[in-house]
């Protein structure tokens, strides 16, 4: 691993200014659980890291506003997972964090960084002998004709079928969360749902954020729909593994009928995947297992399985169906 320069700003403004003064190759650096890992693999090679973890006031979880929950970008995954308001109003968010990584990593990783976690595709993480359009644009995709059991069945392209690996972003997508960012061009707000790009012909462009754009907080609208929610994650082993298929689901019932439903998928798509058609199909219906299964099948409409991952369609349909029934039990 090549050596690097290390900078430690005390404010978001200073961080953004420091970034602007660096020649090419600077990266914001927080928990380091993805970036340091990829630096050791040679996939990332920043000349400068800007350690944002000493910026004051960016780790707060602020529940004082009735309309939204505000989570500072530097809050640790473990802190958000056990926060009382998150547990009560957004159980799917808490569960998505508990079911991600290990407690060591959850103590280190920040929620801002976790949103930008990069794919676990072995060809992306592998050495340069493997083609990867995400790591080396134009080199091809070794996964398309290679070992693709863990890859995406939704949202892939001829250039890339790598899965978005995170869990929290899937829950935040279901809850219509947004992120506030800061760059030399000022502040802006981006829906979490639009943060990750579809790979298309340019899978090396993973998010809509510019390199110098810093996530400063996550905001989640508060309301009744979050309370009856769950994050259901199916893995090769029961703990400490990435999703084969997962679903963040929330339902709000009026009487016996569905007033609002949210369904977002993880582990099966190239980005956190909101299944709006499936949600619409449930509105006004009694939430029976049969209705849930029809919605789950709708969520996988257009799935394009590869040689080794056709099981993800069947598994994903079961995962969404079970998640809807679990959420119903909480309403």
């Amino acid at each position: 691993m090549r050596d690097l320069a290390y900078l430690r700003p005390r404010s978001t403004g200073e961080a953004v200014q420091l970034f602007a003064r660096q020649p090419i190759g600077a990266r914001y650096f927080a928990g380091g659980t993805t970036l340091f890992d990829l630096m050791k693999l040679g996939v990332e090679a920043p000349a400068t890291v800007i350690d944002v973890t000493r910026i004051e006031g960016l780790a707060n979880i602020d529940a004082s506003e009735r309309g939204e929950l505000r989570i500072g970008a530097l809050a640790a995954m473990s802190e958000v997972a056990e926060h009382a308001v998150v547990l009560r109003e957004f159980p799917a968010l808490s569960e998505s964090l508990w079911q991600a990584a290990s407690q060591q990593l959850r103590n280190m990783a920040t929620v801002g960084g976790n949103l930008l976690q990069r794919t676990r595709c072995a060809y992306f993480r592998g050495s340069p002998e493997f083609a990867c359009n995400k790591r080396q644009p134009g080199s091809g995709c070794a996964a398309l004709g290679g070992q693709n059991r863990g890859h995406a069945v939704l949202g892939g392209s001829e250039a890339c079928v790598a899965v978005y690996p995170g869990d929290m972003a899937v829950a935040l997508t279901a809850f219509d969360a947004v992120v506030d960012t800061l760059s030399p061009r000022g502040e802006r707000t981006v829906p979490v749902r639009e943060l990750q790009r579809a790979p298309g012909a340019t899978p090396h462009l993973e998010t809509v954020l510019a390199a110098d754009e810093l996530i400063v907080r996550i905001r989640i609208p508060r309301g009744p729909v979050g309370r009856a929610s769950t994050y259901h994650k199916v893995r090769d082993r029961e703990s400490y593994a990435f999703a084969l298929a997962s679903a963040a689901v929330a339902v709000q019932l009026q009487g016996q009928r569905v007033a609002d439903a949210r369904i977002a998928l993880g582990g099966v798509a190239t980005r956190p995947w909101r299944a709006t058609e499936a949600e619409r199909s449930l509105r006004g219906l009694p939430l029976t297992r049969a209705a849930a299964r029809r919605a789950a099948e709708l969520a996988f409409t257009g799935a394009q399985p590869l040689e080794h991952n056709a099981f993800k369609v069947a598994l994903g349909i079961e995962t969404v169906t079970d998640a809807l029934m679990l959420a119903k039990d909480r309403s």
Binding site: M1, R2, D3, L4, A5, Y6, F29, G32, T33, F36, D37, M39, K40, L41, V49, D51, T53, S78, W98, A101, S102, Q103, Q104, L105, N107, M108, S239, Y240
Partner: protein, 209 residues
């Protein structure tokens, strides 16, 4: 076993650890800024001043920004308890406490520990050598075979109890899933934590960390 041909031990014995550490010049010695450019500078000597307390001992170090906390602990401070298993945050063998929270020291930039307190497996026994209740419980329950993962297991287990995650077998298993044991001593590890948890809580009170 009888080894009649074994010669009497020479004094001092050069064990593997002493040999390994003696190859790292300056091991166990805090480095002054002026030593950074010396030809016999220790590994990871660099330009970033870093003040860190390790097991209660203050150190003023000059570090390469790319150095992991694990490498600095092992190669510069001579604390070889934390182990380098995978070096990618997947196995838990490098677990230490940073300001009271368990972390993977292999994925922690050492310079990020500036101003922080680090506790390693070397820092948990009493001054008189009495083992920490968690260490003693691992011994009592045969919670290890080869021992390589044990320092990380013990540090994770202590944190598990302090976090309040040692209240059921299922919780302990979930909370300890970031620490792999290739020998498969999991049953003993679970028993050790189950037994040590109330002892620790009596001594420290709940949510000590």
């Amino acid at each position: 076993m009888n080894h009649p041909s074994t010669p009497p031990p020479a004094a001092p014995q050069l064990n593997r650890r002493t040999f390994m550490m003696s190859t790292a010049a300056g091991a166990g010695v805090a480095v002054s800024p002026h030593a950074a450019a010396a030809p016999d500078a220790p590994p990871h000597a660099g330009t970033q001043p870093t003040q860190v307390s390790v097991n209660g001992q203050p150190h003023a170090l000059m570090l390469e920004p790319r150095a992991s906390l694990l490498d600095v602990l092992r190669e510069q401070l001579g604390l070889t308890g934390a182990k380098k298993g995978c070096d990618h945050g997947q196995c838990g063998a490098c677990t230490v406490h940073l300001d009271g929270r368990r972390v993977a020291s292999c994925l922690t930039l050492a310079v990020k520990a500036d101003g922080c307190a680090v506790t390693t497996i070397e820092g948990i026994a009493a001054a008189d050598g009495t083992l920490h209740p968690m260490q003693q419980s691992f011994v009592d329950h045969d919670a290890l075979q080869c021992g390589y993962c044990t320092p990380g297991q013990v540090m994770a287990a202590i944190a598990c109890v302090r976090e309040g995650h040692a209240t059921s077998d299922a919780q302990i298993r979930e909370s300890m899933s970031g620490n792999l044991c290739r020998c498969g001593a999991y049953a003993g590890i679970l028993e050790a934590i189950r037994e040590a948890a109330p002892l620790m809580l009596r001594r420290e009170g709940p949510r000590h960390a």
